[in-house]
Amino acid sequence: MGNWLSKFEERIPIGPLIEVAAHKEVPIHKHSLWYYMGGISLFFFIVQGVTGVLLLFHYQPGLETAHASVLRIMTNVEFGWLMRSIHSWAANLMVATIFIHMFSAYFMKAYRAPRDFTWYSGLMLLGLTLTFGFTGYLLPWDDMAYFATKIGVDITAGMPVIGGEIANIMRGGEQLGGLTIQRFFALHVVVLPAVFVGLLGFHLLLVQIHGNTIPENIEKKKAYRKIPFFPNFLYADLFMWLIAFNVLAILAAVYPWPLGPEADTLAPAPVGIHPEWYYMAQFYVLKIMSEPVAMVFFAFSGLLWALVPIWDPTTDQGRRGKVATYVGIISLFSFIAVTIIAYMTLE
């Protein structure tokens, strides 16, 4: 066995990696639950990869084939309905855990130097995840997918100067159709995964280099202990992955993801058409504000959020730190409240 191991080590030297893992430590304190959110997001991404490949074996993009192939996956392919249900639920759970991960990182001030690039890369991963959701939502080509995507693309078209051109590139013409499915499919299964994996590697590398942030008040009181990453934190991480897996399995099995009737591009939009929950707040803002004002609002608030390492750079809990905390609380509650209002005001 030792001989085999040494031959393996000679060809693929993983010793230094094990060495790093053996000496890496993770702080444990009353807020360390939030440390698991990044790992759980990664778990859901792995699930997306596996189920996505399985769906890829059967899915056929195209105006005539997209809906029919998804219907076949759900009715003729053994456990196809389960794979699709897991894929769809895991996508939603992944977005939810990344949101939680982002807000927890924000409130722990994990965006401050030297972790500012971890913050930026994390936000880019969130953006890619939302794009995954947007492109994947269209692929079954049922009525909800068609009309919700149409609204999304129309919003893009409303952007000043470049909006119309971007929308045309997305659609592959003036209308949503076969070319749109083809382009969204290419983005969803080739471009986005490739970019995502690269960026994820960078993000994880930064996490390994800088370690976990300890909240200031806990650091000052020394109210924490440290445990080895390997094996202690890894076991704890696996425990949390199993909980996440159970939640996913319950949702996917008890509430299988539905498939609506095939999109009819000439039919009126169904009553109560709306995007996925993570776009509902923006959807509502667009309903109550004129589009250019809403666009400026989104751009400004998004920029303010992304650039928090610049306007709250200090390591002490000073005035700006408190402002950042208030901004975070207001943002979080506004997002939740507007999402709820958006659902309550649906037709």
Partner: protein
């Protein structure tokens, strides 16, 4: 049909039993498992002179006594209240058939509770040998109570040759009796382990006993994982073929997956059983130092979900019967169907006459034991795309015997043509007010 109906819209009357019963099963199986956990661990501790373990057991007994003797016993009474309201006919049948067994069950339970009280108060006042004996008495009576109740529970799914012989013993030692008893004992041991893990996780992290107890309690789950899979296959072998058809073929369309909800939940039970094993491995067994009480709570929640899902699956597997081959879930006797099927419904449901109209009476008496209008198994969902005419045609299909595709999951509907029309009108009106104007031609 001979009793007044008790309906709860939204939750559904069946879930009133379900919520109480699942909680009771979770606690009572722990009571049986810990009935072994306590004296076995006490024996070990005394043999090896482990005073620290004995101190833990004394503490654990207090928690155990409060949880099982107070909450377990009161939820058990709650089951009696709820089943006699929701399923009065089936409850009466079970009492009549197993009056002798119920008598034994309550005797055994009495000894179980008394011995537990003695066991708890005897930690400091009894000689070790006597205390240990009391512990064994508790363990034997706890398993004894499971031995009895298991016969009655399994009888409802597989009455076996009792249907012909009406013999107490044939009904009691029915085809699923043995595999079910073994499965339940395995569950009891696993739950004893989970609760032991929970209790140990609350101890001071620096205490070396904590690590020992977490690993020791984890081992109580091992028998389940070694044997449960095989016993489950045995159990399934004993389940009637038509019940298994409901699992393997399913009834749902593409929109809801092409396996029935029963099959999907049963699959979840298997999956979550495996994940609990892995959670115990990565948590209290391999990483006891960093295992927290909150994680132990997650384990208990997972155990509760698996217990609930397994019990729910067993109940649904019995559909459309309360007692398979003998009584339908709405209290209709199987042997009466031919005689009563197309006779006026109110003739053989005297209590139903109290309802304002025949449609309401039909719904409350024949549908509401399984369905609600707008909540659990909502008829507003199942019938949403049907008008009154279509609902009526659906109801006539439920009278077509062997031609009825729903015969394996729903009882036939009793009543004349006018009764069915009245029920269709009621459902159309209640499900979507305003649609009932498109009435069925009289």
């Amino acid at each position: 049909m001979n009793y007044p109906s008790w309906t709860i819209d939204g939750l559904g009357s069946g879930w009133v039993i379900g919520l109480i019963a699942i909680t009771h099963v979770f606690i009572s199986h722990f009571a049986v498992g810990a009935g072994l956990f306590l004296p076995v661990t006490e024996y070990f501790a005394r043999k090896h002179g482990r005073q620290d373990v004995l101190d833990f057991l004394r503490h654990h007994t207090r928690f155990f006594l409060i949880l099982t003797a107070v909450f377990g016993a009161s939820s058990g009474v709650g089951i009696w209240f709820s089943i006699s309201l929701v399923q009065p006919a089936a409850t009466a049948s079970l009492i009549r058939t197993f009056v002798f067994a119920w008598g034994i069950e309550w005797m055994v339970f009495l000894v179980e509770v008394v011995s537990l009280i003695f066991y708890y108060y005897g930690w400091e006042k009894m000689k070790p040998e006597l205390h240990q004996k009391i512990g064994w008495i508790y363990a034997i009576t706890a398993i004894g109570s499971l031995f009895v109740i298991n016969g009655i529970l399994t009888f409802m799914l597989t009455p076996g040759s009792w249907l012909e012989t009406r013999s107490f013993w044939d009904g009691f030692f029915n085809p699923t009796y043995a595999p079910s008893l073994i499965l339940r004992i395995l569950v009891c041991l696993a739950l004893a382990g989970l609760w032991g893990i929970f209790q140990a996780s609350r101890m001071d992290r620096e205490n070396p006993l904590r690590t020992w107890l977490l690993r020791y309690s984890s081992r109580w789950l091992i028998p389940s994982y070694l044997v449960a899979g095989f016993v489950m296959f045995w159990y399934i072998e004993m389940v009637p073929a038509e019940s298994l058809d409901a699992m393997t073929e399913g009834i749902s369309g593409a929109g809801a997956g092409n396996l029935s909800i029963l099959t999907r939940v049963a699959m979840l039970v298997g999956l979550m059983t495996v994940t609990i094993a892995l959670m115990v491995l990565f948590g209290p067994y391999l990483n006891p130092t960093d295992f927290s009480t909150s994680k132990a709570v997650w384990l208990l929640v997972a155990g509760f979900i698996v217990t609930g899902a397994a019990e729910w699956s067993r109940e649904v597997l019995r559909k459309p019967f309360a007692i398979r081959g003998f009584m339908y879930s709405n209290g209709l006797y199987y042997q009466d169907v031919e005689d009563k099927l197309k006779r006026p419904f109110l003739d053989h449901a005297p209590w139903a006459k109290l309802h304002p109209d025949v449609g309401t009476a039909m719904f409350k008496t024949q549908c509401s034991s399984c369905h609600t209008l707008h909540g659990y198994r909502a008829l507003s969902g199942f019938l949403k795309d049907r008008d009154e005419e279509s609902i009526y045609l659906f109801l006539t299909m439920l009278q077509q015997g062997e031609e009825n595709p729903y015969r394996f999951i729903m009882p036939p509907v009793l009543g004349t043509e006018d009764d069915l029309k009245a029920l269709a009108a009621y459902l159309a009106r209640e499900i979507e007010p305003g649609v009932s104007e498109t009435a069925v031609a009289p």
